[in-house]
Amino acid sequence: MNKEIIVHDGHHPLLDTLKKSKLGHYTRSEMLAQRPQIVWDFTLGTTLEKREFYQQLRSMGVNQIHADLTTCHGSLLIKEFPELQTAFASACWSPKDSYELWQRDPEAEFGLLEILPMQPVEVQSPGHCFTYPRVISTLINEARFAAKDGLAKTSDLDRAMKYGVNYPLGLVQWEERIGKEIIDLILRDLREETNSDRYKTL
């Protein structure tokens, strides 16, 4: 039995980094036998899926959760689950090698840097899919629509954003770095939770 463990579903983009941590790492089915008290949650899921998972963790007696909430409504979940001590957005690749971090107690030290050796940027609230993942996903979504409409070649779309507004990467290239699955999950949750076609994707 391990008191403190990492739980993942095999899809997190930083899986290789997570596996280097001294904490044991388990899938959701494997974790049951560990009877953990502290869980570092690196599963990817929508708000609904995360809520169900945290209810399960609560029923197992887990009293502290630190979670990657890149793809869900973090601000709702931290209200519903006082067990959530830390929320972060490490699933969305950053050109600055950093990620957003919210802590219930900003002074507390839980050893996050040992697991995620990138630069955390503290935020007041996780919001809905945090700030950077939400903004970049909607930008990339528009690049998808523009490419589908035949507005320009993808190389021209990227050149325009890099040299017209100084983006560090073109949006097509940016999607390749983050991964389609992450962008789709973020847009899906935004659409489901807001009920708005603003987040409709292809």
């Binding site: 940027v121 325009a160 040299y163």
Partner: protein, 288 residues
């Protein structure tokens, strides 16, 4: 065959027109900077010359280069414009006024002269209706970004009437002269003004209502994590919240009010209150 450009004219001696004229003169083209009154065009030419002098002091150019550029630049009115290989319109964003201008230019300039508009919001195909069928084959959008001497991008916007290969030839010409040319079709907002809408729209939805601390935090996160050079709120203040809202509305209407482009009530409120950003000293942040 590579495009040869030896002379050009810029119509409209405002901020964009001046920048475009300056950049072309620096490429060694004979440039006519044209405005309704010769005094306006001359004042703008003087400002360009003053800019070159400053650039010589900063050792960006030699004195000889600056003198050579100066000889390439002349101030004109429409009535005394000379023949040239390319004319770029950079006047007020009003279709009726642009239509009148293009009709006049079509009559005055030779058939082989390429016509271009620097519009950021009007349809190139619709603007090209003001000229003859033959001219439409040589009528494109050339959208520069401010400041035109520094920002590398030029959007090269073709229409179905443009002769085969011309847009590519122009794009190659710009690439060969240090610009980055992005070719695209004639769609609302072209590339940048369409794709960048979410940068502002989503940031506004994240904050929801006025909250300078949260706006500052969103700006900071997008710079520190996203690697953007400026945050959306400071950028809207710089561009002008009124101008940003105008572009949003143009693209939103062109896409039949698709919610992806919908303006946010906070933008509309600020514009109604006359808080346009830095130029009024009040926007999302205060500049007093």
């Amino acid at each position: 065959m590579a495009l040869q450009l030896k002379s050009m004219a810029v119509i409209g001696a405002g901020t964009m027109g001046k920048g475009i004229a300056q950049w072309f003169a620096q490429q060694g083209l004979q440039v006519q900077l044209v405005d309704t009154k010769i005094e306006i065009a001359k004042t703008s030419c003087d400002q360009i010359v003053a800019s070159w002098k400053k650039l010589v002091e900063k050792k960006k150019f030699t004195e000889e280069q600056a003198l050579m550029f100066e000889t390439m630049l002349s101030a004109k009115t429409i009535d005394d414009i000379n023949h040239c290989d390319l004319v770029i319109e950079a006047i007020v964003e009003k279709k009726e006024i642009k239509d009148q201008l293009f009709k006049k230019l079509d009559e005055k300039l030779p058939d082989n002269c390429i016509f271009a508009s620097n519009t950021s919001s009007l349809s190139i195909a619709e603007l090209s209706q003001a000229v003859s069928l033959e001219r439409r084959a040589r009528f494109l959008g050339l959208h520069f970004f401010n400041p035109a001497t520094i920002m590398k991008l030029v959007e090269v916007v073709g229409t179905s009437d443009v002769e085969d290969g011309l847009a590519s030839q122009i794009a190659s010409w710009f690439q060969a002269h240090g610009k980055e040319a992005a070719q695209c079709k004639d769609g609302p907002g072209f590339i940048v003004n369409r794709l960048a809408r979410s940068f502002y729209g989503e940031a506004l939805r994240i904050v929801g209502k006025e909250n300078a601390d949260q706006e500052r935090e969103v700006d900071s996160i997008l710079k520190q994590v996203g690697g953007f050079q400026m945050g959306p709120f400071e950028l809207m203040d710089l561009i002008g919240i009124d101008i940003n809202l105008d572009v949003t509305n143009i693209v939103w209407h062109a896409f039949h009010k698709n919610p992806r482009f919908a303006p946010h009530p906070l933008q509309e409120k600020m514009v109604k209150e006359g808080r346009f950003g830095k130029k009024t000293k009040k926007g999302f942040f205060s500049y007093e």
